[in-house]
Symmetry: C2
Subunit: 154 residues, 2 copies
DNA sequence: TTTACTGCAAATATTTTGCAATATC
DNA sequence: GATATTGCAAAATATTTGCAGTAAA
């Protein structure tokens, strides 16, 4: 990654952190090291992840409980910094960062695989849509179907 | 609803029922009255619903267990006849029919409300997209943000 | 100094599984 | 007739809550 790209990423995280801290303040919640560490770890992920992945990663370095991870993910969900999904037919809950993360997925409902696809048009068109009174912040597009591998098996 | 609309709806359900029955056969599963009743009830819903809503509705007329509802919803998920979601910040699981039900939602992450919006362009564009080996069957679009009501409260 | 947050453990909620009876094929 | 599915209850998972100690404001 180039220097300018790294700077961009750091700036972006500053915005994220600020939004979280403002939300906490507005809600009368405290800024704790646990909450910040969880936010950092969430934003270090490029893929979908489950709650226990976060917990197990955090556990390696800090003393932290699952209850705190649940609590923090709920806060992040409320202030639009995290998305929570159920994709595929396995029915498992997955999370991903939300800020500037407008993803488009194709999902095989047979094997549960979620694969990202890029589409510049959607990326521009969807954020440009307006709705009375509604301030949009990010979006997700899911196209469900059956992948090549599973189609062969059937 | 006009006669022709009613016929259309019935025809559409025939296709759904046939797809389900074919899937059951392919998988070596049996066609049971419980499974058909659950499918019917799912397709009678115009909105998102939770599993327990189905169970409580079914219970009024039939002897059926939650385990069967879970089992059947999993089967319907696998054969792309049902979608499973987590929308909003309450983190609750919701379901909806999938066949010919390509919905677009705006979701307020503050109050958890999911509101459908119509967009003819997306409705046509998304199903027309092609991916190597992947057969797409239905889609969902979610635009997350904060609704007017919640923006005022903050 | 006040009180929200923490970890831990217990409580709840959600989902899955084991089993004997039943119904589909 | 063979066996997958059922309801029920018990087990396994996932999530939330109560509590006493700790730490942010």
């Amino acid at each position: 990654m180039s220097n300018s790209e790294l700077n961009k990423k750091e700036d972006s995280f500053k915005v994220v952190q600020q939004r979280f801290e403002e939300y906490l303040q507005k809600k009368g919640c405290r800024k704790t090291p646990e909450r910040l560490e969880i936010l950092k770890l969430v934003y270090a992920q490029k893929q979908l992840f489950c709650l226990d992945f976060l917990y197990l990663e955090l556990e390696k370095k800090y003393r932290v409980s699952r209850a705190t991870v649940y609590n923090t993910l709920s806060l992040l969900l409320e202030c639009n910094l995290v998305k929570k999904h159920i994709l595929g037919s396995d029915g498992k809950v997955q999370y991903e960062k939300a800020y500037k993360n407008n993803k488009h997925y194709i999902i095989c409902t047979a094997c549960g695989t979620a694969k990202e696809f890029r589409n510049e048009y959607l990326k521009k068109y969807l954020p440009s849509m307006t709705f009375r009174g509604f301030t949009s912040q990010h979006h997700s597009v899911y196209i469900y179907g059956v992948c090549g591998k599973c189609a062969k098996k059937q």
